[in-house]
Symmetry: C2
């Protein structure tokens, strides 16, 4: 709105368009790009020849492909894997993993470690991440790939400006400055993102039919998280990752939540809350720090078999989620909901109470339009989204400006 437009902004924007089309479609000829982007063939030619010169794109001549049609054959263009690399780091409860990923999205190396996140000091947490990243950076140096961006996905609230982890259930420490430390150590720009937001990013890329402009990804796990896409864009708060669906208030002064407050949605719908209620414990009992997945699975099994405290616990959980969604819908309009995470495996127990609760709220007006979708396995989604997010940063910020070094990127091995 308040941004001044110069002539080369046009080129920047159109380069992004081309890179975006190729990120979606893997391979496209110049004609294909012309059709998909709407740019004229001459412009596509100009832009792609620049990008090829800069070794960001490359022609992928397929000698096997027997040209079926008459006429000059199309030559496919694709993102050059060696143009850059990024590192995607996922930090969750007691687990740290990182991947070195090439520019076209292929995994180069993977690292994974178990660690006691709850017992670690602030410094130890950062050091653990830094060590794992260091190994990947070393590896990249050996293969000649230049790591241009590191993206963290962490459980909890992140600050998009200071790029820190503001608060997280995986650690007692607040405001952990991952970005600054890692940036200092490796001289590579770092972003810190919320894990559920990355789930949303991944869903959008995986199935752009279903998840395009407006949808809600709800993570049902030990805690409750959410990633929100509105009008095609990932929604974030004024400053933090926000979208803390799990900590919207469900019952004033209600059950004790892991965050220390009372009555949050999570205090009814998180694994620990279901467990607590199913075992008829005091709702003000301090939440268990971890409940094994099998435990929840067997509670769900019980709940399916017969009426009792287990079924009531899942009913309460569904009700909390439903009222929460209802309030959310009052604010942003109803949208398709994807339930992700192992908690989503009990969706059969949850769906009815969720729908009943939504029907009691403002969102209920459009009930018919509501669709629920289930993706039980969250970890790969987080990894995928995180990697994609980092690559998109590279697309937008690094490869859209023209004054990049022209060649020199061809230093790949072999």
């Amino acid at each position: 709105m308040t941004a001044i437009a110069r002539s080369d902004d046009v080129r920047r924007q159109n380069r992004r368009l081309v890179l975006g089309a190729l990120r979606d479609h893997e391979q496209l000829s110049r004609t294909g790009l012309h059709r998909r982007t709407g740019l004229s063939p001459s412009t596509v030619s100009a832009i792609t020849s620049d990008l090829i010169m800069e070794a960001i794109l490359r022609e992928q001549r397929d000698p096997d492909m027997p040209a079926t049609r008459r006429g000059r054959p199309q030559v496919a263009l694709g993102l050059n894997p060696d143009a850059a690399a990024i590192i995607a780091v996922v930090l969750s409860l007691n687990s740290l993993s990182a991947s070195l990923i090439d520019y076209s999205g292929g995994i180069i190396v993977d690292r994974q470690a178990r660690l006691e996140t709850l017992g670690m000091t602030r410094r130890e947490l950062v050091a653990a991440a830094q060590a794992m990243i260091g190994e990947l950076v070393d590896h990249s140096a050996r293969t000649g790939a230049r790591v241009l961006r590191i993206a963290f996905a962490v459980q909890g609230i992140t600050d998009s400006v200071a790029r820190t982890m503001l608060w997280s259930p995986i650690s007692p420490h607040s405001d952990v400055a991952f970005a600054d430390a890692i940036e200092d150590a490796f001289g590579i720009p770092v972003t810190v993102e919320n894990d559920c937001n990355m789930i949303a990013v991944a869903l959008q890329a995986r199935d752009s039919e279903r998840y395009r402009d407006n949808f809600i990804a709800v993570l049902l796990s030990h805690g409750i998280g959410m990633g929100l896409v509105i009008k095609g864009d990932l929604f974030t708060g004024t400053r933090s990752s926000a979208g803390e669906f799990g900590h919207m208030n469900h019952v004033p002064d209600g059950a004790l939540c892991r965050c220390g407050r009372h009555g949050c949605v999570e205090a009814y719908a998180g694994s620990y809350a279901i467990w607590r209620a199913a075992l008829c414990h005091d709702p003000d009992e301090t939440p268990a720090s971890d409940v094994p997945e099998q435990e929840i699975a067997s509670l769900a099994h019980r709940a399916r078999e017969r009426d009792g405290p287990e079924r009531r616990a899942f009913d309460k959980a569904g009700e909390a989620i439903g009222f929460g969604l209802g309030s959310l819908f009052a604010l942003i309009d109803p949208a398709p909901v994807a339930f992700v995470g192992h908690g989503a495996q009990a969706i059969d127990l949850l769906e009815d109470p969720i729908r009943r609760a939504i029907a009691k709220t403002a969102g209920g007006q459009h009930d018919a339009a509501l669709t629920f979708l289930v993706e039980p396995n969250e970890a790969p989604l987080i990894r995928e989204g995180c990697a994609l997010r980092a690559l998109t940063y590279v697309d937008r910020e690094i490869f859209s400006g023209s004054p990049a070094q022209p060649s020199d990127a061809r230093q790949d091995v072999a």
Copy 2:
């Protein structure tokens, strides 16, 4: 993101920049525009000379102004009032008003009418608006001003795509298609907006120090409404005006709300709810369709004087607002809150319970940063915001494309 950029988009964008600067600052010289927008003097010159040629801007030579400084004096530019006109229509309970407004924001004529909105048919509602607009259009025809846009501000939920009033407390009818009917009648583009959103627009323009990038305008009146600005932009839902803060759920299966559901924030904090609670009526009693302002004022008076059901009613109201804001903060981060409307006059009674409730929610973390501001009179804000919104549309959509008619707008009288 997916938009292709052409060369003349640059000019379009920069024209908007110039018009926007002049809308904010009333008068600016070309040098002033250069400083404020960052455009080079030559570009400012090119753009402004086009705009003057098209009679969108005009030079405002001030012969009185004794040039205090040495050197060639600056010549002030301003929006040409005769460049266009817009009509701002405000529809609320039992009241319809409309203003014909010139391009620089000055009021040309005003119309106002009392009507029984609750008792009117769908057709009568539209006809009433059409009649009032018709008078203003006639007036504009006599003075030669061309009306380029009509903007409605209505209480209730609006649909930004179909430009209808989806649901409103002022009428039993849903999905009232104001825009289509009015557009057909006058051949002028129409938009339908939510009144609280227009309050937010007006606040942003009035005091851009306080209300710039992130703030929340909450209307405390018979019902509860909200307008939300996030990262400088008015927030709207995926499709409707959304931001239905008043219909977020406060207490599951709680008090009966005007919308027919139970437990909404409004069912505790709306005027009718406070009245109902203060008089110790059943919380499931059908809400009164209107409660006089003096009635509320005297309840507030009572509540200030002594403990009793009145004070408890205001406590409950504040608590509902506080929990609602807390849940909102969980989603978007805390932001300054402006309370608008006659209900805000009891802010002294509400503030404490609001703060106490927020402290119990996720938003409480940043309590210190929370500032409340009070603007008791909502009507002028709605009018102002609505007019500004219409004018901004004209700026963006009509006067940013180059192929406008070059002159012919100079047909002003006298």
